[in-house]
């Protein structure tokens, strides 16, 4: 697939740049940041699709518990064996799919796509660098990532199946499930974390060291700032999870009791462990990464949104400096809010108050960023192309996701909402119609730079509108389900819980979920199927446009100011024909008295 990307005839004047290196050096063991970016992109898109398919099967099970999965039920049984006997999803398989859906989507899908793929391809171009600071470490980072992904995938097929303890892998549950899935999960995670660390070191070093002459900090495009902060989050928040992963691996393999308390009973018997460990410690170390990870998911998306908005409104982005300082503030604060995921662990009021306060404070810079984006639209002559549509949808969708998070940040309202579908709806609004829409925008926006052709505009719009509608149909009902008390991670969608509770209703017991709330499962299922179908135009468009998309007429088809568009298309090895020099800020659009409505950063003053 990478092969086709570069086989496209170039519109630039340069010669084919990879022809002499051979297939393996060019496409598999390449040290070129652009090839690595595309490798990351295709791999993570594949993982996104896999994670999405896991979810589809789960939605069937939730809506129709105990019924054979249509179409692929037989396949599941053939591949996975008894856990999918007669094509029916067992509870164990549901747990596996749930845990792996989260893991794959976050660690193998969105983060690699947002950070590694776009970051690798775009950041060096944007700052006017010939490559990343450490190209071989960059290659190693991708290979370790693939290895981690393979370990995760292989774990589906080992006896007992993949990890079942949720993507958060709380101990002692994660340690006490007798299968090897968790061990694979931990090894996979250690590899993925190592890959991110290599990537993060490389990104920060590149942005610090390789900025072109004249590219001062305040002339960096906001996308680069977003990636810079993201890299710091990965660099400093991931190691504690790596430490926690090593300790849980020791618990699992060497029989230690880091996270296993004294007197732990498994299945009614006292567990054969020394005890003395602390389950809370795992949660602290996990969420120390887990919360910054949210901003790892969202910051690159915000960066893409800023680029696309200013380009398509033909205006400078509003409040560039407040955007930069807000991104820095988010990065800083995101390290001291993590325990708002843990209000229900028996946390005292003083600590809870501290974390509530920081949680409310961190929403301020997020709101500043979103507000700046909205104000940027004001008075612009907006070009409604596909990337812009996705970005325009991002703004309110991310708004919904963010605002619904506030009740979860207060310990009092969190008591009711904790671990319900409300939480699921909240963070999916942030990540799915939020981040992933921004990533789609990025793909449509930078595709011409990567290939020399644009993606088909009509099918892009079809993809956008269908995704937009179905996305909301999938997640909006979950708010209602969650507020009426439906818990996450119930393999039958709450059917048994509801029936039991209804049977005991009265005498101080509140009844189960209403039939209406339960019937929403069916709507969500078909909306999810619709969402799946809506991705077909995108997948076809992506590959079809490689050869048949309309060729771009210049190196800068969007008439953009930033440096990545001032190179040949696609950029050759080493990127720039001659070292660029930067004369101005990143968003000089519609400067009064200027002949064109954009002034690229590298054009000298007259």
């Amino acid at each position: 697939m990478q092969a086709t990307t570069h086989a496209i005839p170039h519109t630039g004047v340069h010669e084919a740049h990879h022809s002499d290196a051979g297939f393996w050096r060019t496409y598999i063991f390449s040290t070129d940041h652009k090839v690595i970016g595309i490798q990351y992109g295709l791999t993570s898109l594949t993982f996104l699709l896999i994670g999405f398919c896991l979810m589809l099967v789960m939605r069937w099970q939730i809506a129709h518990p105990g019924e054979p999965v249509p179409v692929i039920g037989g396949l599941l049984e053939a591949v996975l064996g008894d856990v999918a006997a007669k094509g029916v999803m067992s509870n164990e398989l549901y747990n596996s799919f749930g845990a792996m859906h989260g893991t794959i989507m976050i660690f193998l899908g969105v983060v690699p796509l947002a950070f590694a793929a776009f970051g690798n391809y775009v950041v060096p171009l944007m700052i006017g660098a010939p490559d990343m600071a450490f190209p071989r470490i960059n290659m190693a980072s991708y290979h370790v990532f693939v290895l981690g992904g393979l370990v995760m995938l292989v774990s589906f097929f080992i006896p007992g199946g993949a990890a079942q303890a949720g993507w958060t892998s709380y101990s002692p549950l994660a340690t006490s499930i007798a299968t090897d899935g968790q061990t694979f999960w931990l090894i996979g995670m250690v590899l993925l974390i190592t890959s991110s660390l290599l990537g993060a070191v490389n990104f920060i070093a590149t942005i610090i060291q390789l900025r072109a002459p004249g590219m001062t900090w305040m002339r960096l495009p906001f996308f680069v700032w977003a990636q810079f902060v993201t890299a710091f989050l990965l660099l400093l928040a991931f190691p504690p999870l790596e430490a926690a992963g090593i300790m849980q691996l020791m618990d699992k393999v060497a029989g230690t009791s880091f996270f296993l308390p004294t007197g732990l009973a498994i299945g009614g018997d006292l567990a054969n462990v020394s005890g003395g460990g602390s389950p809370l410690l795992w949660q602290h170390l996990f969420w120390f990464l887990g919360h910054p990870e949210v901003y790892v998911l969202i910051l690159p998306a915000m960066g893409i949104v800023a680029e696309v908005i200013s380009n398509n409104t033909r205006k400078p982005i509003w409040g560039y400096k407040s955007l930069v300082y807000s991104a820095l503030a988010i990065g800083f604060l995101s390290f001291i809010v993590w325990a708002h995921h843990m209000y229900l662990t028996g946390m005292g009021t003083k600590v809870a108050t501290f974390f509530q306060t920081t949680t409310m404070i961190i929403s301020i810079p997020s709101v500043i960023i979103l507000t700046c984006m909205f104000i940027s639209l004001w008075g612009g002559s907006i070009r409604f192309n596909t990337p812009m549509l996705f970005v325009l949808a991002f703004l309110p969708m991310f708004g919904i996701g963010g605002l619904t998070g506030l009740p979860l940040g207060f310990s009092y309202s969190d008591i009711h909402l904790h671990d319900t579908y409300y939480v699921i709806a909240h963070f999916h609004y942030i990540v799915a119609p939020g981040t992933i829409f921004a990533l789609f925008a990025g793909i449509y926006y930078w595709f011409p730079k990567m290939t020399g052709r644009k993606m088909n505009e009509f099918w892009g719009r079809v993809h956008f509108w269908l995704s937009f509608i179905f996305m909301n149909l999938v997640f909006q009902p979950m708010f209602a389900q969650g507020m009426s008390g439906m818990l996450r991670r119930m393999a039958d969608g709450g059917a048994m819980y509801s029936a039991t509770a209804n049977a005991r209703a009265g005498a101080g017991v509140i009844g189960g979920l209403t039939d209406y709330i339960m019937s929403l499962h069916t709507y969500i299922l078909w909306a999810a199927v619709g969402l799946a179908l809506a991705q077909i135009p995108f997948i076809v468009n992506l590959f079809w446009s490689l050869r048949n998309g309309p060729k771009v007429k210049s190196d800068n088809p969007w008439r953009s100011t930033t440096l990545e568009w001032q190179t040949p298309t696609p950029p050759p090895h080493g990127n720039f024909a001659e070292p660029p020099r930067v004369y101005r800020g990143p968003y000089e659009y519609s400067v009064p008295g200027h002949p064109t409505d954009y002034t690229p950063q590298n054009v000298p003053e007259k």
Partner: protein, 106 residues
């Protein structure tokens, strides 16, 4: 730079490294010795041990790793790291000490 000047400079550095080396040896000896002093409060042993370890760490980082005369950029990176390191330690430990009263009175 003349060869002679170079050597002088070199000698100066080597003397400093050796001084740090002796200080580290001394620090190790003191740590071990102090740990055998039976203070009534063991916390005092722990505190002393950590102070000496911190001093030794400062010497290694400051002189062997040349942090004492490093660039601003490195300081900035490390300042962030120290902040988050302290946050991780302090907040985690704090939350272990703050929990609701375990006895329920009716």
């Amino acid at each position: 730079m003349s060869e002679k000047h170079h050597d002088e400079h070199f000698g100066h550095h080597v003397r400093r490294y050796l001084l740090v080396f002796y200080a580290l040896l001394l620090g190790t000896a003191i740590t071990v010795a102090v740990s055998y002093v039976p203070f009534t409060n063991h916390a005092l042993n722990i505190g002393l041990g950590l102070v000496i370890a911190g001093t030794k760490a400062f010497l290694v980082a400051g002189y062997f790793m040349h942090l004492i005369s490093e660039r601003k950029m490195i300081y900035a990176i490390l300042a962030f790291t120290v902040f988050f390191f302290v946050g991780l330690m302090f907040l985690t430990v704090w939350s272990f000490y703050d929990f609701p009263p375990l006895t329920i009175t009716r």
